[in-house]
C-alpha cells in the first residue's frame, strides 16, 4: 500500500525483551489459545481467554502520559511499560497514573467517548502497543472478538472508523477479527438461562451502551455519549472542583449511591453531586431505552432480565439505585430482574470470548 513511512519508534535496546519472555506462566499467554475476547473500553482494555476451561483475564488501563524522550535518560524504566515515539516518551497503562503525578500532568487517553480519540495524534500507535501487550502475536489464526459501541443517539459520532481501525490492529497481529456490540456481549455472557434473551447495559467511562437481545440476536442497540466521565465532569463543575478529584472519590470502595456520608464537608459535597449526576444518567438511559424500544414492533413473550456491567456501575448499591429509578417509569416490556453481571468489569470481555469461541468452532466445522 502506498503510504507514509511508519513513525520512527525507537527501541530501548536494554529493555528489548521478546514478548514471550515476559510471560510468567502458561495462564498469561493468550497468543496460542483457541479464541480471545477483547473489551476495548475508554478506561480499560481487557482480554479474556480460556486456559484449561478457566477464564483468564488480562487488563491494562487505557491511558498514557507523555514527556520529552530526554527524560528517559534520567529515569529507570526497567519495569515501566513505555514507548518512545519520535522524540517523545510515552508511559503506558497502569504506570501512567503514577508518572502523571511525577510529571505534574493529568493522564491522557487514546480513546474518548468510547471511540478512538480524534484529539490524540498518537492514539493509534499507543492503542496498538497496548493491545499487542495484551494479546501478543497470534501463533495460529484464532478469532479475536473485540467489543464495539453502537452509534450514539445523542452525538454526531460514527463507529465505522473506530471499528475498522481495531479490525486492522487485530488482523495485523495475526488474528481473525470479529467485531461485536459490547452491550450484547454482556447478554451472551450472562443470559444462557434465558436462551440469550435480555437487556445488557454497559456503563462505561466514555459512554453507556444498551442492547436488547432476543435469542442471541441484538434487536436494538444504541449508546448515549454519557458515562462515568460525564458524571465526573458535571459533578466537578457544579461544585468548583477538578474532574480528577471527583473521580478519585467516585472510585473509592466506600462510595455509596444511597448515602452522602463522609467525615469532611467538602467530600460530602462531592459525593452528593456525584449521586445527583448518577441519578440523571440513569434516568437518561432509561428514557432512551423506552424510546428506542417503542420504535420497533417487537413482542417478546417472556420477561427480560436486565444485566448491568461496566466500571461506572461499581459504586455500592448501584443496582438498587438503578432499580429505584427504573420503577418510576412505565416500561413497554416485561422485565424479570435487574442485576449486576457476575463480574461487572470483565463481563464484556467474557461475552466477547463466548462469541469468539463460537466463531472458532464454526470455522473448524466448515
Amino acid at each position: 500500500m502506498a503510504g507514509k513511512k511508519p513513525k520512527d519508534i525507537k527501541t530501548e535496546e536494554m529493555n528489548k525483551i521478546p514478548n514471550d519472555e515476559l510471560l510468567i506462566d502458561e495462564s498469561s499467554d493468550s497468543s496460542n489459545v483457541e479464541a480471545v475476547g477483547l473489551d476495548v473500553g475508554t478506561m480499560n482494555l481487557v482480554a479474556a481467554y480460556l486456559v484449561n476451561d478457566d477464564v483468564v483475564t488480562k487488563r491494562i488501563r487505557n491511558m498514557f502520559v507523555q514527556t520529552d524522550a530526554e527524560n528517559a535518560e534520567t529515569m529507570d524504566l526497567t519495569n515501566i511499560f513505555h514507548a518512545i515515539i519520535e522524540d517523545q516518551l510515552y508511559i503506558l497503562g497502569d504506570d501512567a497514573y503514577n508518572f502523571a503525578n511525577i510529571f505534574g500532568q493529568t493522564v491522557r487517553r487514546p480513546m474518548k467517548n468510547g471511540m478512538i480519540s480524534p484529539n490524540e495524534i498518537d492514539a493509534l500507535d499507543i492503542l496498538t502497543v497496548m493491545i499487542k501487550e495484551l494479546i501478543g502475536h497470534a501463533k495460529k489464526d484464532s478469532p479475536v472478538c473485540f467489543s464495539i459501541p453502537a452509534n450514539p443517539i445523542d452525538a454526531d459520532m460514527n463507529v465505522t472508523y473506530h471499528k475498522n481501525v481495531l479490525e486492522r490492529i487485530v488482523t495485523t497481529l495475526g488474528y481473525k477479527a470479529v467485531p461485536f456490540n459490547e452491550a450484547a456481549a454482556i447478554v451472551l455472557d450472562e443470559c444462557a438461562e434465558t436462551n440469550f434473551s435480555g437487556i445488557g447495559i454497559s456503563f462505561g467511562a466514555g459512554m453507556t451502551n444498551v442492547a436488547i437481545v432476543y435469542k442471541s440476536v441484538p434487536v436494538v442497540t444504541f449508546s448515549v455519549a454519557r458515562g462515568g466521565d460525564w458524571i465526573d465532569y458535571n459533578a466537578a463543575i457544579s461544585i468548583g472542583q477538578i474532574p480528577n478529584r471527583v473521580s478519585v472519590i467516585k472510585e473509592r470502595p466506600d462510595f455509596d449511591l444511597t448515602s452522602f456520608e463522609a467525615s469532611k464537608k467538602k467530600e460530602r459535597r462531592i459525593r452528593e453531586a456525584l449521586v445527583y449526576y448518577y441519578k440523571d444518567l440513569l434516568n437518561y438511559v432509561i428514557k432512551n431505552l423506552i424510546a428506542e424500544f417503542n420504535k420497533i414492533d417487537l413482542q417478546i413473550p417472556d420477561p427480560l432480565p436486565i444485566i448491568v456491567a461496566g466500571g461506572t456501575s461499581k459504586p455500592k448499591h448501584f443496582v438498587e439505585f438503578f432499580k429505584e429509578q427504573f420503577e418510576n417509569f412505565e416500561v413497554p416490556f416485561e422485565w424479570a430482574e435487574i442485576r449486576h453481571a457476575e463480574n461487572p468489569l470483565t463481563a464484556v470481555a467474557s461475552g466477547c470470548l463466548v462469541k469468539a469461541l463460537q466463531v472458532s468452532q464454526e470455522g473448524e466445522s466448515d
Partner: protein
Amino acid sequence: MGDNRLCKTPGCTNVAIPGAKGYCSGCFERIVKIQQIELMEDIVKLLTQILKEGLNVKGLENKQVTQVVEQVEKHVEDRKIDFDVTDFIPSIDVSDVKVGEPKKEAATTKKEKKKKKSVKSIVNKLKQVQEDK
C-alpha cells in the same frame, strides 16, 4: 458464515471487511485513494473555471485564486506520488512498532472466579439456540 463474504472486486479472493461496503481492506483503500484524487482534481477544475470565467468571487483577487489553484495542483501531485491513506484508514504495521517493554508484565492477569456455567457450556447453548431459530 455470513461474516466471511468475499470482496466484491472481480477477481479478488480476500474477505470483505465490515464497514467497507463489501470490499476487502486493500480494495477499499484503493477506492478511497482514487476517490480522494478525483475529488482533488475536481477542486482544481472548479478553481480553474472560476479563474478563467473571471467570476466575481467576493474577497478574492485573481492573483489569490491563482495561488490557490497552484497550491491545490501541487497538493494533488504530491498525493499521487505518496498518497497518505492513513488519513482515512490508518496503516498499522505492528511489526515495526517497537517499544521498551518492561521486565515485569504490564497487564494485570487473573484467573476469573468459577461461574455457575462454564464458558464452554455457554457456547454450546448458544449454538443450540441459534440452530433452533
